[in-house]
C-alpha cells in the first residue's frame, strides 16, 4: 500500500502554489496535513504527477484578528484550535468540535482548510462552520473571492475551486455574548465518520439563527433562518422549541427518503439543542 511515484514541491508563498496548480496537463494535488489525502495516496486512489505541499507557507499558518471575525489560515490544525493556540471567538464551539475530530495524532496535522476542501459530508468542520456562518477566502490567478462554507462544498468530495485556486483562510465571525450553539454527531465508535450531524447557532445580538443537518450523502442542509424550526431565542430549554415534524419534512423535501436516516438526523439536531454548549 504505497503511493505512486510523484514529484514534490513546497512553495514559499501562495503565488508559488497558484503557478503550479493551474497546470491542466498533469494531475496536481495540494497537500496540507495529508490526513485525508495521505490514505488515498497510499491506496493509490489518487495518483498525482505532482504534490504541492502548502505547509511551508507562513501566511497559511497564521491567524488574522479582524473587526468582526478572525481569519484562520488554511493550514491551521484541529489541535491548534482545540488547544486554544487560536483565540476562540465562538464561545467554545470550534475548540470543542475540534477536540472531537478523529484522533489526537490526526488533529496534530489535519488542517481546517484541508478538511473542508476535502468535502467529506461526514466530517465535522463543514457542519459546524456552516452553522456558525463562516466563510472561506480563495485566491487564484483571477484574484480573490469569498464564499460561505456551505456554498464552498458542492457535494461529496467536491469543493468549488476553479483552476489554479487555493483556499487561503477560513473566516469565523465573532459571536455575540448571548450566542448559543450546539453540535451532536452520531457515530458507531469514537473517531469514526458521523452518520448524522446536527448543529445550530442562535446569536441574538447579531440576529442570527441557523441550523444544520450534516453527514448527509452530500453537502449539509443549512437552514439560515431557523427560528421556526428550532424555536425563538431566549428559551432556556432550547429543545422545547424544536419542531421535529417540520425538521422531518424539511429533510424529506430535500431528498432524504429513508425514514431511518431522517429519524437519526432529526434526533441529532434535537440533541444538539438539548446539549447546547457541549459536544
Amino acid at each position: 500500500m504505497k503511493p505512486v511515484n510523484f514529484d514534490y514541491a513546497r512553495p514559499k508563498d501562495v503565488a508559488g502554489v497558484i503557478s503550479l496548480i493551474g497546470d491542466e496537463s498533469r494531475v496536481v494535488k495540494i497537500l496540507a496535513g495529508g490526513q485525508s489525502l495521505g490514505p488515498m495516496l497510499n491506496m493509490r486512489l489518487v495518483q498525482p504527477d505532482l504534490v504541492v505541499d502548502i505547509t511551508g507557507i507562513e501566511e497559511l499558518r497564521q491567524v488574522e484578528d479582524r473587526a468582526d471575525e478572525v481569519g484562520i489560515g488554511g493550514c491551521v490544525t484541529h489541535s491548534d484550535i482545540e488547544d486554544l493556540r487560536v483565540a476562540d471567538v465562538t464561545r467554545g464551539a470550534l475548540p470543542k468540535v475540534a477536540a472531537g475530530i478523529a484522533y489526537r495524532a490526526v488533529r496534530n496535522r489535519g488542517t481546517i482548510g484541508g478538511s473542508i476542501t476535502h468535502a467529506d459530508p461526514s466530517a465535522d468542520w463543514i457542519s459546524i462552520l456552516s452553522a456558525i456562518g463562516a466563510t472561506v477566502t480563495l485566491r487564484g490567478p483571477d484574484g480573490v473571492r469569498s464564499l460561505a462554507v456551505e456554498d464552498y462544498m458542492l457535494g461529496a468530495l467536491e469543493a468549488d475551486l476553479r483552476l489554479g485556486e487555493l483556499l487561503v483562510s477560513v473566516n469565523v465571525p465573532k459571536l455575540g455574548p448571548a450566542a448559543r450553539w450546539g453540535y451532536y454527531k452520531s457515530c458507531r465508535k469514537t473517531g469514526e465518520f458521523a452518520h448524522a450531524i446536527g448543529a445550530f447557532l442562535i446569536d441574538p445580538d447579531r440576529d442570527v439563527c441557523r441550523a444544520v443537518f450534516g453527514a448527509t450523502e452530500s453537502k449539509p442542509l443549512v437552514v439560515s433562518e431557523a427560528g421556526d424550526l428550532i424555536g425563538r431565542t431566549g428559551e432556556r430549554d432550547l429543545a422545547q422549541g424544536f419542531d421535529s415534524r417540520r425538521a422531518d419534512e424539511l429533510i424529506r423535501d430535500n431528498g432524504m427518503n429513508d425514514p431511518i436516516d431522517r429519524q437519526i438526523h432529526v434526533a441529532a439536531l434535537r440533541r444538539a439543542l438539548e446539549q447546547s454548549g457541549t459536544v
Binding site: 500500500m1 514529484d7 514534490y8 497537500l31 497510499n42 495518483q47 499558518r61 489541535s79 486554544l84 495524532a105
Partner: protein, 400 residues
C-alpha cells in the same frame, strides 16, 4: 535528500517524495520499533512524536518533516514518562503480542503529559486512536490512569497542548521552499491498457449491482426518438466525460469515459455493444470499461423503451440504467461516496438526453445541439434526489 532530527540525531538521507515517515524510519534508519498496522491512519501503531506531539507516521511524508524533530519509541528509552508507563503497562498486563505497543506508549505518553486529571472515560476517548486487538484495553487504561495519578500526586502538573507553541501541522515550517524535480515519471500502463480494452461478454444472467430507473416525456413522435437512440455517438455525447473512438460498427463501439471526483480521477477505457428491437422499440447498450490506472472496472447496461406518450405526438422514454463497479474503487463500505459519482453521472446523462431530445424534437440539428452539461455544481442538486432513489433501489433489491 531530506534532513530530519531523529531521536536527537541529525539524519539526512535520500528518499522519494512518496516515502512516508514510517518507511523512512524503518527502512532507511532501521528504527523498526515504529510499526505499520494499516497504512491509512486509523490503527495508530505507527504513531511517533513529531516536534513533540503524536503524529501518524504512515500518512505523513518524510519530506513534509524536513527540519523537524522526530522521536520514535527507541528514543523514549530514557524518557521519564515513558519509563513510568513501561513499568505500569507490564504490571497491568497492558500488552500481549506487543505490536500496537510502541504507538500506544507514544500516545499514552502524550495523554499523561497533557491531561491534568482525566476520568477513565476521558482516557479511553484520548486513547481511541490506537487500536489493540489483544488486551481489551483494560490494562492499558489502568496503566495510564495509574501513571497520571502518581505524577499528579508528586506535584507534577499537566502541560496543556503538550507544550506546542506554533501553528500548523506538526513537522511543518522548519525548512525552506523546494522546487519540483521535473523528472520523468514512468508512464502508467496506459498504452498497454488501450490495446487490451475490456470486452463485453454477452451474458443474459448478468445483473447490475445498482439499477436506477427513470422516465421522461418529450414532445415529439416515437419514431424520431427511436431514431435518435440509434445514433450512438449522440447518445454518448450526453454522458459527461465520455468520448467515442471512431464510429459504431455492427453495433459495436469503442470509447472512454473520464470521471473525476475530488482528488480521485478514473478513466475507463472500454467498449459498448448495442442491440435494438425494432418491433418492441426497445434497445440495450451494454458497456464495459477498465480504469487505466487502478485496475478498477465497470460494467453497465442501459435499457430504453420508447412508447407513445399520453398525448399524441409525445413520447415516453423509459430508462433503466444499471452498473457494477469492481476493483479498488468499489471496495469501500462508504459506497455512498463513490456511488454518488455514478448517481450524479446518470442524473446528468438523463438531463442531457432530455435536453438534446427536446432540442431535436423541436427542430434543432445535431450541430446546434445544446452543450452537454458536465458533472459540476449545477448537476449536484439533482444528485441528492437521484442518490436517494438509488438507495431506495439498493434497499429494495439488496435484500432478499
Amino acid at each position: 535528500m531530506v534532513q530530519i532530527t531523529i531521536n536527537d540525531r541529525q539524519v539526512s538521507g535520500e528518499c522519494e517524495p512518496r516515502t512516508h515517515l514510517a518507511d523512512f524510519l524503518r527502512e532507511a534508519e532501521n528504527l523498526t520499533g515504529t510499526h505499520l498496522g494499516c497504512e491509512h491512519g486509523v490503527c495508530g501503531a505507527c504513531t511517533v512524536l513529531v516536534d513533540g506531539v503524536p503524529t501518524r507516521s504512515c500518512i505523513t511524508f518524510a519530506h513534509a518533516c524536513e527540519g523537524a524533530r522526530v522521536t520514535t519509541i527507541e528514543g523514549l528509552d530514557e524518557d521519564e514518562i515513558a519509563a513510568e508507563l513501561r513499568t505500569a503497562l507490564s504490571k497491568e498486563h497492558g500488552l500481549q503480542c506487543g505490536y500496537c505497543t510502541p504507538g500506544m506508549v507514544v500516545s499514552a505518553r502524550d495523554i499523561v503529559l497533557r491531561m491534568e486529571a482525566p476520568s477513565e472515560h476521558d482516557i479511553r476517548v484520548a486513547l481511541s486512536g490506537n487500536l489493540c486487538r489483544c488486551t481489551g484495553y483494560v490494562g492499558i487504561v489502568r496503566a495510564v490512569q495509574s501513571v497520571i495519578e502518581a505524577r499528579r500526586a508528586r506535584g507534577i502538573a499537566a502541560v496543556p497542548g503538550g507544550g506546542r507553541d506554533r501553528l500548523g501541522p506538526a513537522g511543518s515550517g522548519h525548512a525552506g521552499a523546494v522546487q519540483e524535480n521535473k523528472r520523468e515519471r514512468a508512464a502508467p500502463a496506459e498504452a498497454a491498457a488501450a490495446t487490451r480494452a475490456a470486452q463485453v461478454s454477452r451474458d443474459d444472467n448478468w445483473r447490475p449491482q445498482t439499477t436506477l430507473e427513470d422516465s421522461f416525456t418529450v414532445s415529439h413522435p416515437p419514431e424520431v426518438v427511436w431514431d435518435f437512440f440509434g445514433r450512438v455517438e449522440e447518445v454518448a455525447a450526453c454522458l459527461p466525460g465520455a468520448s467515442l473512438q471512431g464510429a459504431a460498427e455492427d453495433g459495436h463501439v469503442e470509447g472512454q469515459i473520464k470521471v473525476k471526483v475530488g482528488p480521485i480521477s478514473a478513466e475507463f477505457q472500454g467498449v459498448a455493444d448495442i442491440t435494438r428491437d425494432e418491433t418492441a422499440k426497445a434497445g440495450t447498450i451494454d458497456g464495459a470499461g477498465k480504469d487505466k490506472r487502478s485496475n478498477s472496472a465497470t460494467r453497465g447496461r442501459i435499457r430504453y423503451v420508447v412508447r407513445e406518450g399520453d398525448r399524441p405526438g409525445e413520447t415516453l422514454v423509459e430508462l433503466s440504467i444499471g452498473y457494477t463497479l469492481s476493483g479498488v474503487l468499489a471496495q469501500f463500505s462508504r459506497s455512498g461516496l463513490v456511488q454518488d459519482v455514478a448517481g450524479r453521472l446518470i442524473a446528468v446523462f438523463v438531463q442531457n438526453l432530455e435536453a438534446r431530445l427536446n432540442h431535436e424534437a423541436g427542430g434543432g440539428t445535431k450541430e446546434t445541439a445544446p452543450e452537454s452539461a458536465a458533472l459540476d455544481a449545477g448537476s449536484l442538486m439533482s444528485s441528492v434526489v437521484i442518490g436517494q432513489i438509488k438507495q431506495f433501489f439498493a434497499r429494495l433489491l439488496g435484500r432478499r
